[in-house]
Structures are given as C-alpha cells and as structure tokens.
C-alpha cells in the first residue's frame, strides 16, 4: 500500500452546490407543509401543535443534514482502530517475513496506535524492527540506525500524518540501504466530519454553559421579564469559585473544598438574582433596567475580587465537571445539562409552580385576582436565573481550569437568542423549555458547522445573526401569517 497524496477536498465544491439545491427543495417543502397547516387553523390537531412547538427541531435537523453533507470527506482512522485495520491489511498483503518499523507521534491516541499495532503485528508473526514515537527527527534517527545495522527494512507502518513526513515518505530514496521500503497506513474511510463522535461531543460541550443559563432565562422571559445580568454572573461565579479554591488549599485543595467553593459561588449568584427580583417586584422597576444595573454590579464585583487578574491556583481534578467524561464517554457537563433540562421540563409542564409562571406572564393582573402570589413567582424565576448563571460560571471555570472576570462576556445575548430561537415569546406567557434546548443546539451547530467549513470568524457573526432572524421569522409565520398580510386585522 503506497501512500498517495489524495485530494482531501476533492469534489467539495460541487457537493456544496448540490447541498444548496437540497436546502432549497427542503425549504419549499417545509413552506408548503406550513401553508397546509395554516389552512387547517382552528381545527387544532396534534400535527399543528407539534409543528408549533417543535418546528425548530426540523430546522435543527436540516442544519445537521447540511453540515453533514458539506463536511463529507476522507477520515483517517486513529488509535487502536487504525492499528487493527493496518494490522489486518498487512496480514493479508505482506509476506510474514517482512521487517516492520512502527512510527507514530507522541500523545495518547498515537501511543495507543503504536502499542496496539506492535502487539497485533507480533501476534501475526511479523518481525517488528522497532517502535518510534516522536517527531521526524526521531524517525530519521531510527531509520538510520536500522540502515547502519544493515538489517534492512521492508515496511514502515505509520499514521496518515507521519506518512507525509519527508523522512518517512522518501526513506527509500534518501537512505540507500533502505531502498524498496514501503510505507503503510490504515485505509481511510468516508464520513462527515460533522458527525464524528468527537465533533458531536464538542458541539454539546461548547453549548453547555449557554444552555444551562438559558433554562433560567426561559422562565424569566415566560413571565414577561428579562435577565441581562447572567453574563456577568458567569464571571462572578467563576471568580468566586476560583478565589475560594485558591484560598482553601490552592492546587492542593480537597474535593470537599472545591464542592463547597462551587456551591458558594452558585449561591452568591442566586442571591444576586434574589436581589434583582426583589427590586423588580417591590419597587416595580422594569426588569430590563434592574438586571442591567446588576450586570454592571456583578461584573464590577468579579473584577475587584479577582483584582483584574485570572486565578489559576486550582487543582487539576477541578476539571472533572467541565472536561471529564465518566459515563459511556459522555461529558459530565452534558449529563448535567440533560438532567437540568429534564427537571425544568417537569417543573414547567407538570407542576403548579410551572402553571403559575405561564399565568403570570400571560396576564399578571388576572393571575393576582385569582389569588396567586405573583411576586413570589417572579422572585422564584429570578433566583433560578441567578443560580443557573452561577452554575454556568462554575462549569466555565472547570472547563478552563481558572477563574477570570472576563468570562461570560456577551453571554446574555447568546442566551436570549437561544431562548427566542427556541420559540419563547419576549411578550411573555408562552414558551417551552425544550424549545430553548433546541435553540441553543441550533446556535451551537451553526457555530461548529461554520468552523468545520472554514468560514471566517467575522463572517460567522454575520451569518449567525441572520440565522437567528430567519429562525424567529419562520417561527412567527406559523402562529400569525405572512407579515405583509398581518397589517390587516385578523379574522374575527
């Protein structure tokens, strides 16, 4: 098997054109379906309700489809998987007497490759001349040693990446003693980069913080309010947690100290939420203003506590929450997010408190006159929002293994975007927690997909903004009608 320079991006251009056609056709189909649904207005129907509640699920699926399509390319196998394929290929295609050198880079994945390959080749009866892990320099040294020893070499078994090194690819020409040596790599396979497990986990991991905060924000927005302080609370929480850990043992802090520090940070943010809620309910200050003020206050607190610096004196084990993956390889933070969404869904759809949250947002006066403590409900949602932002800050600190007052900047806007894309009305009274999760995923997928297709970061912002607008517009078409017709009064 000779390593050939395969054009990795071959055919990508034309595939994108095809993708554009597919999008066009699918949008048309969606439009027609929605027109039909609007025609059935009044007759109700589970289909319509589903489309109204979870139409964004279709958008998410469509985005995944598009990004899968445009990122289809040859994928290199890595680790023990690559070793197994390579060993099998050699067992069938090379004489048993072959002398083989294994070349790989350093790092976990490459070590796994080298070890598994060595074991498999020995089992198959090949002669393993050596195992090199390092850069081109080490590879050259090993090859030279083999040539000097005069033992000859038949095959260099390596990874796709190392096969491209000059010393490896041209070993036969540059070292005369090794003329005729072949380079073997594991066969590549064709698969969308977007759908690779690492990438999907990456998408989930990137959005965890936004998605967790968006739970609280969804509740706040359903009551007809808004919470602009969440971004600053992320910073405050990360700084408080890091500062406490640094105080309580620094890099030698015990797990108990870390848990206590994290809880303190989360509770502190909950207190800020309580304060916002109290100002809003007792003095009837608009939520926009009250939480804008708390945004500045929280940010200032974070900066003065951290004295404008990042705090790094944190043990490695603190990254368990943000980077660890204990259950079936699913990141712990993603499991936390899923659990929180499940709890929030139950709260909003099955409990008395959830019902009250919707009622307060729909008509606070009618709700008060029905004997419900509207202020209590409002306090609750702002506290939840603060707690969620606090948790988001702890996760951020854990992911980055540090606490800095610059964390969470602009997060409030991404969080609000996720909530709105998820179908929650800023006017209050309606919205779905699971819709918010979908909204957050849509934003994450767009972000990730653009990174994979090498869209420039400035352009990414423009596209993301337009997509948010389009998503919200599409959603509003389902409940209203075409905007240029809504100028007329609705049918009586």
């Amino acid at each position: 098997m000779q390593a050939a320079a395969t054009p990795r991006h071959g055919g990508l251009r034309s595939r994108r054109d095809v993708a554009a056609d597919v999008i066009h056709v699918m949008c048309r189909a969606k439009e027609q379906r929605e027109n039909r649904l609007m025609g059935m207005a009044g007759s109700g129907g589970a289909t319509r309700r589903f489309a109204t509640n979870y139409g964004m699920l279709g958008v998410l699926a469509l985005l995944c489809l598009i990004f899968s399509w445009v990122t289809v390319q040859e994928q290199d196998r890595t680790g023990s998987d690559a070793a197994a394929y390579l060993a099998r290929g050699l067992a069938h295609g090379a004489p048993k007497s072959s002398k083989i050198l294994i070349v790989a880079k350093t790092g976990q994945e490459d070590a796994r490759f080298a070890d598994a390959l060595e074991a498999a080749l020995k089992q198959d009866g090949f002669r393993v001349a050596g195992k090199v892990q390092g850069g081109p320099r080490e590879a050259k040294k090993a090859l030279q040693e083999i040539a000097d020893a005069g033992g000859g070499l038949d095959i260099i078994a390596t990874t796709r990446e190392c096969a491209d090194w000059q010393v490896v690819a041209a070993a036969g020409q540059t070292i005369p003693a090794l003329a005729g040596v072949k380079v073997s790599v594991a066969p590549a396979y064709t698969w969308p980069t977007f759908l690779k497990t690492e990438n999907l986990l990456n998408v989930a991991n990137q959005i965890v913080v936004i998605a967790v905060i968006a739970i609280g924000m969804t509740m706040v927005i359903i009551t007809g309010g808004i919470d602009l302080s969440v971004g600053s609370l992320v910073a405050l929480s990360a700084v408080v947690a890091a500062w406490l850990i640094a105080r309580w043992g620094g890099e030698g802090a015990t797990p108990a100290a870390m848990v206590l520090a994290s809880l303190s940070a989360i509770v502190a943010c909950g207190m800020v939420g309580l304060f916002s809620g109290a100002v809003i309910t007792l003095f009837r200050i608009p939520p926009f203003i009250a939480t804008l003020a708390m945004m500045l206050v929280a940010s200032g607190l974070a900066f003065s506590l951290a004295q404008g610096q990042s705090i790094y004196q944190i043990p490695d084990s603190f990254t368990w929450l943000g980077r660890g993956a204990d259950l079936l390889g699913i990141p712990n933070a993603v499991i936390l997010m899923i659990a929180l969404y499940a709890a929030a869904w139950v709260l909003m759809s099955r409990t008395v408190l959830g019902r009250y949250i919707y009622a307060v947002g729909g008509n606070p006066e009618a709700t008060r006159l029905s004997g419900i403590r509207v202020r209590g409900v409002l306090l609750f949602v702002y506290v939840v929002s603060g707690l969620a932002a606090g948790l988001g800050g702890v996760v951020t600190a854990s992911q980055l293994k540090s606490g800095a007052p610059t964390y969470g900047q602009m997060y409030e806007l991404y969080v609000i975007a996720a909530v709105v894309v998820g179908g929650t009305s800023l006017a209050g009274g309606e919205g779905k927690v699971l819709g918010t999760l979908i909204g957050a995923l849509i934003i994450a997928v767009i972000w990730n997909g653009m990174n994979l297709t090498h869209v420039e970061s400035y352009t990414q912002k423009i596209i993301l903004g337009m997509v948010i607008l389009a998503a919200v517009l599409l959603d509003s078409l389902k409940t209203r009608s075409w905007p240029w017709r809504s100028l007329k009064p609705p049918a009586a």
């Binding site: 409990t351 009622a359 008509n363 006066e365 009618a366 006159l369 029905s370 004997g371």
Partner: protein
C-alpha cells in the same frame, strides 16, 4: 340604474356578500342598504356576522362574492385605504387613537397640514377646534388623548372621521362605556351628523338605544341578513325574536330565592378619593344590585372587598367572622370571588388553555406534592362545561378563541369550582349577546337558590331592576340610596339617586 327611482337613491348598497373563513361561513348572501342622512341600526347576536360585514365594507376582509355600490356605482374596496377614500369611517369600541399624542395630532395623523415639510400646527389647531365646535363638544385639541375621558376620545374619533370627509360613519358599540349623560350627548352628535347628510351605521346590544336613535334596523343571524325594517314599526320583542330566531317570553327571568340571614357585612369601607364610608350587607340567597354612574365607585367597592386594592378603613365580616383581607388571595380563601368587568384584562389569561384558566385559583386542590393532576382538572372542568353549557371544542383551546359569552362562563366555572360563597359580578353581561345574557341571568338565579350571596354591579338599569332583590345606588363614592321594593321601582327613581 337605468331608470330614475321615485324615492331617494341609496348611498350604499351591499349585495350578495359571501365570506368564508377556514371551517366557517361567516357571511352568506348578506345585504345592506343605507341612505344619506339616516341612522341604520345593525343588530345580531355575537357571531351573527355584523363585524365581518363591517370589515368587508371597510376593506379589512376581502369578500368572496358580492357587490358594493356607492352612489349606485360599484366601489372597488380592497383595503382600509380604499374605504377611507370612498368616505367610509369606522369608530371601533377600542379606539384607534395614539394615547401619547394630542387630540389634534390624532385627528391629523397621516394627513398632517404641512408647509415645506414643516407642520402647520396653528392651522391644524384651528381646524380641530372647528370640528369640535361642529360636534358641540368641548375638547382641548392640545390635550393628550390618554388624559381625555372615553366620551371625549370618542368625539376625537368622530372629528377625525369628519376631517377625512367621511360620508358613512360606522359606530361599533359606541355607548358601551359611556355614562347616560354622555350617551345623550353622543345622540345629539349623531342627530347633527344626520342633519348634515351623513349616514350612520350604529351597532349596539342595547335595544333601548335603537328605538331612541335609529331610523331603520337591519338584523343579522348566522351570516344572513334576516330583515331590514323601519324602527317605528317594531317592538322590542320583535327585535329580540328576529335576533334570536325564536320568541323570548321574558327578558329577565327573575326568580326570588328565599332570603336567609345576612352573610357578608361591610362596614365603613373607605379609600381616599374613590370610596367614602360605604356600609351594607348581603343576605343568603339575595341578589344585591349595585348601580350608579360610571365613576361613582361601584367597581372600586368590589375591588376593596376583594382585596385587589388596599382599603384605608372599614371592616368586612362573613357569617359573623371578621375577615383580614389584604390581597385577593385572602379574599378567595375566605370564600369571596370577583368576576371583573374587563374579562380580557383582568379575568382571564387569554393565552392559556381554557382548562388552565378554569383551575387557576383552585390549583391547590388539583395537585399533589406540587404536581398538577390533569385528569381531575379535566373531569372537574367537563362537569362545569356541561352545567354551564360552555361551548368549546376542547378544554385545550386557547381562551382567546372563545366568544365573550363563553369566556364569561369560563370565569364563572372558575369561581364556582373554588367554592365561593359571595359572588361579585361586575357588569356580568357587558358585550354579551341576548341569548347568552338570558343564560347568565338563569345562572344568577341558580346561585341565589343554592344559598350563595350575589352582588351584581351593572350600569344597565333594566338589568338591575329586572334581576335584583334589592338595589344600592352610589354617587361620588358614597351610597346615595337604597331601593327595597324593586318591583315597584322605576328607572327614573334609580337615576335620581345616581345623580345625587
């Protein structure tokens, strides 16, 4: 028309108008003719097609079939702008005024007087004054609309219509929120408009007004025009029969329930500026009518009893027990309830499903450990829906989609479920059609028969006289009189007390 008719030519003719919405035929072959200088009453129950017909006339809805002739010529009305150009103006119940602009700015909105792009405010001011003078009303053109009374805002709307050169003015329930003097003034304005050759289409549920102001009445039912007759040839019963489609024996089916001991006793109720030292009691099985002019403090009394506003002084006792009411929550727990006058703004969360509105005050009983038990909720609502004849496709339907009458019944079901002993109705039949009104009256009878105490606040004197066991009249925040012999009382007697 080829041949000249002997009598006056109609100003407006609508003929064979069809309009369908998904799943419903709102208009079928509806007709309407209107002559210059007349007042045509347009009558019908809610859902009969009045609003749709008007919206077709004003271009808000496109008609499926039919012709509209103005001065005998086909008028192409496809948008509200076309209608405005054709001289048609509509004054809706909820005014289309911008509350933060002045009366003058509202009148000239969209057709400002300008010179080289600058506003000619003095010219506008003079024109606005002239319009108000023509209407015989005193409104400061520079007053912000939100500071005007409802009657004044209405005058601004009419002035706006006149300023646009309207020849046909449609008024949708113009008297619903006016006091009786204001209604008189409105009628004076309408008579002036008639004199100026302007045709008025007058939509109202109040039959008395029809006989006072209208020349002819057109009645609609199920999307069809049942008939158009001269008012002087009609009786009240004729009109009701045409609207409902069956003869109604009695407009107010009052049944006196046996009266028991006093249950709710209010003493010295006061709130600065609105309610002064109001004391009264309601007995078991009694329907107490509470009336007075708009702004006399009737609604405020109800809100104080219910804890919706904070009272400055006064005690409230129920069955001998003094109640410490500081919030609606306390009042509900004590067994009081208030069916507010404005159902949409205060009585219902319109976006929530009917079932969720129904259970809102009594959710505690439909839940366990904080979790809602939907099946019990559903069963309880179904029972009330049967008893109250609430017509709703599903208990999951958004409350917004229900008719006014059905919304009122949902509010009623909600309070019946929370086991209220004292039921305060504030304008129970406002905006509700004749047929449903009758059902609400039967329900009030039923509540009294079950031993509940009912306080019925109403501006409609026939209703107060027809349904109460006893009447209290308020004037400027005080109780100005009590009428115990309701059967022998007249509207004039009540009015005399109401004006102080």
């Amino acid at each position: 028309m080829p041949t000249a008719p002997a009598v006056a030519k109609p100003l407006l003719v609508m003929e064979g108008i069809d309009k369908s919405f998904p799943g419903i035929r709102a208009l079928r072959q509806a007709r309407l003719d209107l002559y210059a200088g007349e007042v045509l009453a347009l009558l019908g129950e809610n859902g009969a097609g009045k609003s749709t017909l008007i919206k077709v006339l004003t271009g808000a809805h496109a008609r499926d079939a039919g012709t509209i002739l103005i001065d005998g010529r086909p008028a192409a009305i496809a948008s509200p702008l076309d209608a405005r150009r054709a001289g048609i103006a509509v004054i809706y119940q909820e005014f289309n005024l911008v509350p933060t602009l002045t009366a003058r700015e509202n009148i000239f909105l969209g057709r400002e007087e300008t010179a080289a792009g600058f506003l000619r405010r003095r010219r506008e001011h003079a024109q606005a004054l002239a319009l108000f003078e023509r209407l015989g009303v005193r409104v400061d053109p520079e007053a912000l609309c939100r500071n005007l009374t409802i009657a004044q805002q209405q005058a601004v709307e009419i002035a706006k219509a006149l300023g646009l050169g309207a020849r046909i003015i449609v008024m949708d329930e113009p008297s619903a929120t006016l006091t009786s003097q204001e209604v008189d003034r409105l009628f004076a304005i309408i008579r002036d408009l008639k004199g100026a050759g302007i045709a008025v289409i007058y939509i109202s549920h109040r039959l008395d007004e029809i006989f006072e102001i209208a020349d002819r009445a057109a009645v609609m039912r199920d999307g069809e025009t049942i008939g158009t007759r001269a008012v002087k040839d009609l009786t009240r019963d004729d009109l009701i029969e045409m609207m409902v489609g069956r003869p109604i024996e009695k407009e107010f089916p009052k049944v006196a329930a046996p009266l028991g001991e006093p249950r709710l006793v209010v003493d010295g109720l006061s709130r600065a500026g609105v309610v002064r030292n109001v004391s009264f009691s309601v007995r078991r099985g009694e329907v107490l009518g509470l009336t007075g002019l708009v702004g006399a403090g009737r609604t405020e009394v109800a809100r104080l009893i219910f804890g919706a506003d904070r009272r400055d002084a006064g005690t409230i006792r129920l069955d001998g027990r003094t109640l410490d009411i500081r919030s609606p929550r306390d009042a509900i727990r004590a067994g009081l309830c208030l069916l507010t006058e404005d159902r949409k703004a205060q009585g219902l969360v319109l976006g929530l499903p009917v079932r969720e509105n129904f259970s809102l005050p009594s959710l505690g009983r439909f839940s366990k450990a904080g979790f809602v038990r939907r099946r019990r909720e559903r069963e309880a609502f179904a029972a009330h829906a049967r008893g109250l004849q609430i017509k709703v496709a599903s208990d999951e339907a958004p409350t917004r989609n229900l008719s006014g009458g059905n919304q009122q019944k949902v509010v009623l079901a909600k309070w019946l479920e929370s086991n209220s002993e004292v039921i305060i109705f504030d304008e129970p039949t406002r905006g509700i059609d004749v047929g449903t009104k009758y059902e609400i009256y039967l329900l009030i009878n039923d509540l009294a028969a079950r031993g509940k105490s009912v306080i019925m606040i109403s501006s409609e004197l026939p209703e107060v006289l027809g349904m109460s066991d006893r009447i209290l009249v308020m004037h400027e925040g005080r109780l100005s009189g009590e009428i115990t012999d309701v059967r022998g009382a007249t509207q004039e007697q009540v009015l005399a007390l109401a004006v102080g």
